[in-house]
Amino acid sequence: DTAVSQTPKYLVTQMGNDKSIKCEQNLGHDTMYWYKQDSKKFLKIMFSYNNKELIINETVPNRFSPKSPDKAHLNLHINSLELGDSAVYFCASSQGAGGTEAFFGQGTRLTVV
């Protein structure tokens, strides 16, 4: 069983479209994260949730809206996609909010054309 799974793995879409990436963890963790990895390989935190409550929103445009229906899921919805949104997006989870071992999904490569 995959611990942290995100779908889809690849997403190619046109500018201006709205898209969602889903993430689920079966580890019973209370904290989930979304990271963006750019072409230079920097991993930047976007959001984190602890027990379904938003705890980190790291100056992300409001076109990005995370939703956590329950502790096991953290989905990312992106409105009006722009070329600069092209990147690999990683979902992760951990028990405790920072400073503990995190488990990452396999990533979603988003390409906006």
Partner: protein, 110 residues
């Protein structure tokens, strides 16, 4: 700003050699973690060292921590081609997030 910053940016060695990469951080930490990322994959946790520890081993991995210099090193002994990956550190001090640098790209040639 990155809490963990890795160097060198890239490291190329032959199989069997040891690989050493370093991490520097800015503020006091509770613990420090190292992660590996294979091409096209998510990060995988390697090892965690607590702020009151100076050295930790796990298999072929050896991690040291110098809190006075705010630095850590990861040593991979007897490297293998399968160790080829990017390596990231996180200084576990921030609530709600792990903060990484750009990583060290390690290439191990067979």
């Amino acid at each position: 700003s990155q809490q963990g910053e890795e160097d060198p940016q890239a490291l190329s060695i032959q199989e069997g050699e040891n690989a050493t990469m370093n991490c520097s951080y800015k503020t006091s930490i509770n613990n420090l973690q190292w992660y590996r990322q294979n091409s096209g994959r998510g990060l995988v946790h390697l090892i965690l060292i607590r702020s009151n520890e100076r050295e930790k081993h796990s298999g072929r991995l050896r991690v040291t921590l110098d809190t006075s210099k705010k630095s850590s090193s990861l040593l991979i002994t007897a490297s293998r081609a399968a160790d080829t990956a990017s390596y990231f550190c996180d200084g576990g001090t921030s609530y709600g997030k792990l903060t990484f640098g750009q990583g060290t790209i390690l290439t191990v040639h067979p």
